[in-house]
Symmetry: C2
Subunit: 446 residues, 2 copies
Amino acid sequence: MERERILIKNLHQYKNRQVRVCGWIEARRDHGKLIFFVIRDRSSQVQAVINAKNESAFSVAEKLKDEWVVCISGEVKERPEKMVKDEENGDIELSIDEIEILSSAKELPFEKDTQLNIETHLDHLPLTLRKREISLVFKLQSALLEGFRSALREDDFVEFASPSIVGGDAEGGAGVFKVEYFKDKTAYLATSPQLYKQILVGVFERVFATGKAFRAEKHATTRHLSEYTSLDFEMGFIKDHTDIMAQLQKVVKKMVENVWEKHGKELEEFEIDKPLVPEGNFPTMTMREAQELILKETGRDNTAEPDLEPEDERFLCKYSAEQFGSDFIFITHYPTSKRPFYTYRDEKNPEYTKSFDLLFRGVEIATGGQRVHDYDLLVEQIKEKNLDPGKFKFYLQAFRFGMPPHGGVGMGLERITAKLAGIKNVKEATLFPRDMTRIDLPLADN
Amino acid sequence: MERERILIKNLHQYKNRQVRVCGWIEARRDHGKLIFFVIRDRSSQVQAVINAKNESAFSVAEKLKDEWVVCISGEVKERPEKMVKDEENGDIELSIDEIEILSSAKELPFEKDTQLNIETHLDHLPLTLRKREISLVFKLQSALLEGFRSALREDDFVEFASPSIVGGDAEGGAGVFKVEYFKDKTAYLATSPQLYKQILVGVFERVFATGKAFRAEKHATTRHLSEYTSLDFEMGFIKDHTDIMAQLQKVVKKMVENVWEKHGKELEEFEIDKPLVPEGNFPTMTMREAQELILKETGRDNTAEPDLEPEDERFLCKYSAEQFGSDFIFITHYPTSKRPFYTYRDEKNPEYTKSFDLLFRGVEIATGGQRVHDYDLLVEQIKEKNLDPGKFKFYLQAFRFGMPPHGGVGMGLERITAKLAGIKNVKEATLFPRDMTRIDLPLADN
């Protein structure tokens, strides 16, 4: 009977014993009568060595090249002290007895260690994603998703799948993709689950979604994606926007915890630093307070601006880390003019809203606030933004038939991933990024 | 200070004590100097009563109508024995001291208990979804998602967000929606994450996704949706398709368990039966064996057909329930002619594939199998299906550069939800269904 496969991360438990591991040839180095391999599986990697004395296995070994898929039987040996390396499984080595080839690979288009430009990297994702430090980014992303959902489920939130195909470009804002629908109708790809999650506050009080949002923005930058994963929640029976901030803080802390709990060891190996997360609350200031602080601290006077500049956001994050030991900082009360029609205005000063951004390592990663729940007021605010209430009639039913005070948050998964992993270009924090020049391959090549 | 809100499901713990509950007016019944209300929150519902002697609160109570949103303070009282009803919270009643109105509601377009035809139901989803037995279907759906993911995460699967916008209609099969992309390019909405999950077996070995798939099928039936949630997983280093079946069985059992663990009480209230799940393995037979069985048991001779008929699937499920105590049954070895290009053929008889369907309560709910992992063979099978390998060049890289034996499964969340909840029309197991006649509202009205 075939021996059971052992994951490479567990080989330490099998010193001086026979094992069978399966994976890819990560590297090969010939050394006379010895051939050294690095074998990679989903869990880790390890060095394996074969001696020419084992003729049958050696003849198989001689064929192997990078990315061939194999199962290897052999003994787990401790390396002599002078051969121990400061790397994953650097103290053990697999002494090969037998090699089974599961699949061969063609010659690679470039050396594995080559620093690729981003276009070449993206052209070859089925290969380039296999690099351990790159695949780690997406394990981290998977753990973020898990942390987001479990934090919300603990608090009674119901998950829903928000529609991607929508009937109208209701908000009339950012670029939207058109879909050829049935009966010669044009449909659109949803730019956000906003209207649906509000509708569902009327049903479940508390909901979340982790689906796709689509933006047809004609910008080829390090920040723009045609589709991204939008982490959204919405909750009813709140006092005001501060209830939403408290919920978001809890969720974000849990997301970070989950990533480091699941992948702490690999993150350390690739020198990815855990963010500064305060024991207590994230620091909070209003946008106007933030502008005053910036004026005082830097002499830069943006106090008349209706929004923060990228430079301001970077300053505030740096300030927060230094002064409050927090890589996260809330900025509240953005002007009414800069926020969507459904935003709740501050009773004390209606030029400002009960809204907030959460900044992290220099950029906004989440935006949210309280929403209007009164039907008549909502219709009025739709009109004030020069939108047509008639186009919102499905959505407005939720408000005709009784809605509690509520609010919520939206955040882009890829952006948080990038910031956590220390990646500059959000496309490298997206498995298969789409933008105005590319869908898998450059558009010209599709 | 305002009293903390208590969820209605927890009121039993507060007998003879003052509480504050918040929710919607589910019903009102006037009885002289008494007004009775049913109050509904996300957790449950309860009867509340106000006496005219409490003048200030009574004058508020007189205004209240269905779906108004309120917070009510009062005392939890046990009902006299003869007033106890066999229903949720039928043994207690809230004696109202004070009522706070959070939001009013316009008059409802129909009586709540009216049996609506499906079109009227769908036209008014923001209201009709609020019905407890309807919202329960989507709580069940949320728990299915949770069960699917947690079963796979336990076994080391990495979650990924599969692209919705794709560059080509590669498989050239079922109807596909066109998207107006940048540079006058036409893009398409993905009909499945199949190619991406295979690519990622080369990266993570084991992956899953729970995103949207899109089908432009011109059928207005109880089964067709323009977009649905596709539960997909894929895993490498398998022996054959039976490893995938074992994994699927484990996942499905966990999904069912999770639903009943989280919502058992409400499911019982609405008489939704837990499926028959065997202790051991789901029964399994090949498609040809199934046809022979049908011939023997019913005299219906479909043994020359290349696929099972709907009638056959219903028979097999009934048979499985009666003979094996299982509402689930695997059918394997569908003909090569009926399966996609990437399907692995049975070495012993290449006219059949190492594929399977999982049937449940009369229909197929999941389909899967082993896939081809050899590059040359895969290219050959693409050509055999009269498809163009050039259109698969991004995907094919995964196979050029070494892929292990692998396979996986896809299942439609809405269909499983419908079958579990005893719903005939899959649109009623979809929160906001889209089909050829409707996106939220009928297409003509959008």
